[in-house]
Amino acid sequence: MTVKEVVKALNLECLTGGEELDREVNGGYCGDLLSWVMSKAQSGNAWITIMSNINIVAVAVLTDVSCIILCEDVTPEEDCIQKAEEQGVVILKSSMSAFELANKIGNLI
C-alpha cells in the first residue's frame, strides 16, 4: 500500500509530501528516541512518533522511511516543515495514538 493510500484510509493530515506519497509502506516503527529509531527503523517503514523538532527530518532521510506520522495531534515546528519539504520527507499528522495508528496500519498493509 502506498503512503497516499494510507493517508486516505486513515484520514491523516498531510503536512508535506509530493511524489514521495507514491512510495510503498512496507511496515512501521514506533519510537521517540532518535538513536533507537536510527538503528531500528527500516527503509520504507512508516515512522510513528510524537517527536516534532527539526531533527526528525535528518533521521527520516538517513533511515529512508517512507513517511513520518506525528500522532496525538502533535504539531511540528515551522522550520521542521520547511526542512522536510526541502529534503522530500513526507510528514503526516493524526489525533490517534501511536498504538491505534500502528494497529490500523498493520491491518491495512
Binding site: L34, S35, S43, N55, A58
Partner: protein, 143 residues
C-alpha cells in the same frame, strides 16, 4: 582503480542543532549517486549521523573528513570538545550525559556510540580530556 579516492570535508557547527545531520545526509546522497548498495549506505548513514550528532551535542562541533574508495568508506570526525573520561563507560548502551533540554528533543538514549559500534566494520575512538575526541569509522564495500 584501487587507488581512486573521493574526498569530502565538512565543518560541523556546534551551536546549530537545527542543521545537525546535514553532512551525513550529503554523504548519503553522494554514495547513492556512486551506486553504492543500500545496505552499505545504511551502515555509513547510521554510524556517521550518530558521531556527527555527538559532535554537536557533546563537543561544540568539529570537522569531518570522508574518503570513499572502491573498497571502503572511511569517516573521521574530530572535535576539540571536552573529551571522554571513560570510553568503555561511554560505549555502554544507555550511558548518557546529555542534558534535559537535549533529551526533550529525542537525544540522550545513550545508544549513539553503541550504534556506531554495531554498524561500522571498524570503529576507533580516541579522546583526551580537555583536548577533544576523534572517531574513525570504516565501512568495507564487499568486492
Amino acid at each position: 582503480m584501487t587507488d581512486e579516492i573521493l574526498s569530502l570535508n565538512y565543518q560541523v557547527n556546534g551551536s546549530d542543532l537545527q542543521s545537525a545531520g546535514v553532512a551525513s545526509s550529503d554523504v548519503k546522497k553522494v554514495l547513492r549517486k556512486l551506486g553504492v548498495s543500500p545496505e552499505i549506505i545504511r551502515k555509513v548513514a547510521i554510524s556517521m549521523y550518530e558521531a556527527e550528532i555527538n559532535m554537536v551535542i557533546h563537543a561544540n562541533g568539529g570537522t569531518i573528513d570522508v574518503s570513499i574508495s572502491p573498497e571502503q568508506i572511511k569517516v573521521v570526525l574530530a572535535d576539540n570538545g571536552p573529551g571522554i573520561a571513560n570510553i568503555d563507560l561511554a560505549m555502554k548502551e544507555g550511558y548518557s550525559t546529555a542534558p534535559q533540554t537535549i533529551r526533550e528533543m529525542g537525544f540522550g538514549a545513550g545508544m549513539g556510540l553503541p550504534n556506531i559500534k554495531k554498524y561500522a566494520d571498524i570503529m576507533n575512538i580516541t579522546s583526551e580530556l580537555g583536548k577533544g575526541t576523534t572517531v574513525e569509522i570504516i565501512v568495507n564495500i564487499p568486492q
